[in-house]
């Protein structure tokens, strides 16, 4: 039984997700703003926090920053209606293990929660697109290429995710195991979280995001 905590300021959406998670999950709490989310997570100690990106009082990023140090075993999955790449990239860089859009189907959502709980990274096609954009190959100004640049394989995996393939199909098509796909995705996530290089800044500046 995976213990899940839901954070979203749209009550309708909150109750919808709650009913979708009836089987195999235990929803230990819900919150609709940053402060109650932080205190609620501290109290209920969930395994996975399903987290909206935009909320009154600082957004999902504030919650992750407050919790992740004192409870590193808690995993965060960002769930957003936001189309804005900067929100999504920011929350993933803050430490979310993945990002899915709110139009995701219930089956895909439960699968995503399980994968995050198992320690894998979950990328929606959209997030893969954002990440590829952020690491766009024509923006190379190598500062620390070993650390920050995506390998060709990682780029290939991301591209397949962006094209809408499941991890299983990607593994088949690239003749690798699903585990390897997950490893690549986790590596991308780590690079994204570690990445402080100019690319991201420039990418954001180009789009007038900062």
């Amino acid at each position: 039984m995976i213990r899940v905590f839901l954070v979203d300021d749209h009550r309708l959406f909150l109750s919808g997700v709650k009913s979708e998670l009836r089987v195999g999950f235990e929803v230990v709490g819900t919150a609709s703003d940053v402060d109650t989310a932080i205190s609620g997570i501290r109290r209920t100690r969930p395994d996975v926090v399903l987290l909206d990106v935009h909320m009154p009082g600082g957004g999902g990023r504030t919650v992750i920053e407050a919790i992740s140090e004192e409870r590193p075993e808690t995993q965060f999955l960002a769930l957003s209606v936001s189309d804005a790449a900067e929100d999504v990239i920011a929350i993933v860089r803050a430490g979310a293990r993945g990002y899915v859009t709110k139009s995701i189907s219930p089956a895909e959502l439960t699968d995503a929660i399980r994968r995050v709980h198992d320690g894998d990274a979950v990328f929606s096609p959209r997030l893969a697109g954002f990440v590829l954009d952020a690491f766009a190959s024509d923006a190379i100004q190598p500062v620390d290429p070993e650390l920050d640049q995506l390998t060709n394989r990682e780029r290939e995996v991301l591209r397949h995710i962006a094209r809408g393939f499941t991890y299983k199909v990607i593994a088949q098509r690239l003749h690798i195991s699903v585990k390897t796909v997950e490893t690549h995705v986790s590596a991308v996530l780590r690079k994204l979280q570690l990445s402080n290089r100019h690319e991201l800044t420039r990418w954001a500046t180009d789009r007038r995001l900062v």
Partner: protein
């Protein structure tokens, strides 16, 4: 000491009577003050009840007492009528400190002192000016509720009625200013005839300006405020109109729809449209790749009720080649919508330095690419032919039962 939020009745009796709890009207509504007691606390109680400085109350009693003993009689009468203690629900009005009177005395004192030491412009100038200054300060003085003119102006514009004290102050100030101006003009009649008239006109003008000034300032402020409010309400009306035409209509259609696929596509197309409206696809983006492919996806969603999952990486200016690419992508999406029986289709567009790639993929029933009937020209002509005419390549991957993916690749050596 109990403090209830209070409103000074000397500045606005209309508001004061509104907010005053009706319970204080029981009996005479008067009590003997505990804290402001000199004899029996009647003056203090009156002061607390009406918010008048107790000194004035006492002075009035003394004055009335000298006038045939009426004050003493009134005091005794009130003493017998008043409650022993202040009722717990009584509204206590704190007297406004009379800084203005203090200031007036000090100024008067300084002026007299200056006069006696000889630093003086002459009685004919100083006293009228002082009168005018006093009068205009009486008019201009702004209390918590904005002063006399504000209330007068709001009465003129058909809002609340002006406070009585406000009108009194206005009249008093006006009289003082007029008197000051009049004395000055009368005193300076010794001036040469023509020059004197001009000075009189100028001085009178200044006096009128002093009286009307606050009102005109207020009018100007009101005009600006009204303009801002008009702009705001226009904006709100625009938003409301847009939401009505788009979101509300779509929500209504969704409620009447019994096909879940129709609902999903309605919701998605509305989402797309609302996003475009909120985050503004402005004119300079009209010739860029991203909005162009968003438009392609939106058209397919609308026409075929088929949700299109679109991811675009990178952006570039649109040229003829990109237009051909988007037309080919539209054709590929259309094929998926017509033949694949898939629930959704995904389109991935990536702009790289060397080329632009588009993947259109569905998880529908698929087909055998070698077994397309000859009368089906869609893939050959609209996709392959179009791509090759613009120097690109189209690759079709499909198998019966496992969906279809069409890859379109366009070199962009000229488009950098």
């Amino acid at each position: 000491m109990e403090r209830t939020p209070c409103i000074d009745p000397t500045t606005d009796p209309a508001i004061a009577t509104q907010t005053e709890p009706t319970s204080t009207r029981r009996g005479v509504g008067l009590w003997r003050s505990h804290d402001r007691r000199v004899i029996a606390g009647i003056a203090g109680g009156l002061s607390e009840r009406f918010g008048i400085d107790p000194v004035y109350v006492r002075a009035s009693f003394v004055a009335l007492g000298m006038a045939g003993g009426f004050g003493v009689f009134a005091y005794l009468l009130l003493w017998t009528a008043a409650d022993q203690e202040r009722p717990p629900d009584a509204v206590v009005r704190r007297a406004r400190p009379r800084h203005d009177l203090g200031t007036l005395s000090i100024v008067l004192g300084i002026m007299l002192m200056l006069r006696s030491t000889g630093i003086w412009l002459g009685d004919g100038v100083v006293w009228p000016v002082a009168l005018v200054a006093l009068g205009s300060s009486v008019i201009w003085s702004r209390n918590d509720d904005g002063g006399a003119w504000n209330r007068f102006a709001s009465a003129a514009t058909n809002a609340e009625s002006p406070g009585r004290t406000g009108l009194v102050r206005l009249a008093l100030g006006g009289v003082l200013v007029v008197a000051g101006v009049g004395i000055f003009i009368a005193g300076s009649s010794a001036l040469p005839q023509t020059g004197g008239a001009v000075v009189a006109v100028v001085i009178t003008g200044l006096g009128v300006g002093l009286i009307l000034g606050p009102w005109m300032v207020r009018q100007a402020q009101q005009l600006t405020q009204e303009r801002h409010e008009r702009i705001r309400s226009q904006e709100r009306a625009e938003v409301a109109a847009h939401l009505h035409d788009s979101v509300l209509q779509t929500l209504a259609m969704i409620q009447r729809s019994d096909s879940s696929r129709r609902m999903i596509s309605l919701a998605r197309s509305q989402e797309r449209e609302l996003r475009a409206w909120l985050y503004g696809a402005d004119d300079q983006q009209a010739d860029r790749l991203q909005p162009m492919f968003e438009d392609v996806a939106a058209r397919i969603e609308q026409r075929y009720d088929l949700p299109v999952e679109l991811v675009v990486v990178g952006d570039m200016l649109v040229d003829d080649q990109v237009r051909a690419l988007s037309a080919a992508a539209y054709e590929a999406l259309q094929n998926a919508a017509r033949h694949s029986q898939a629930d959704t289709v995904s389109m991935y567009v990536e702009v790289e330095p060397a080329h632009v790639t588009v993947f259109v993929r569905d998880e529908g029933k698929g087909f055998d690419p070698r077994a397309i009937p000859d009368d089906r020209r869609g893939i050959d002509e609209s996709i392959r032919g179009r791509m090759s005419r613009h120097g690109g390549v189209a690759t079709v991957r499909s198998e019966p039962g496992s969906g279809t993916e069409i890859e379109l690749q366009l070199p962009r050596e000229h488009t950098r």
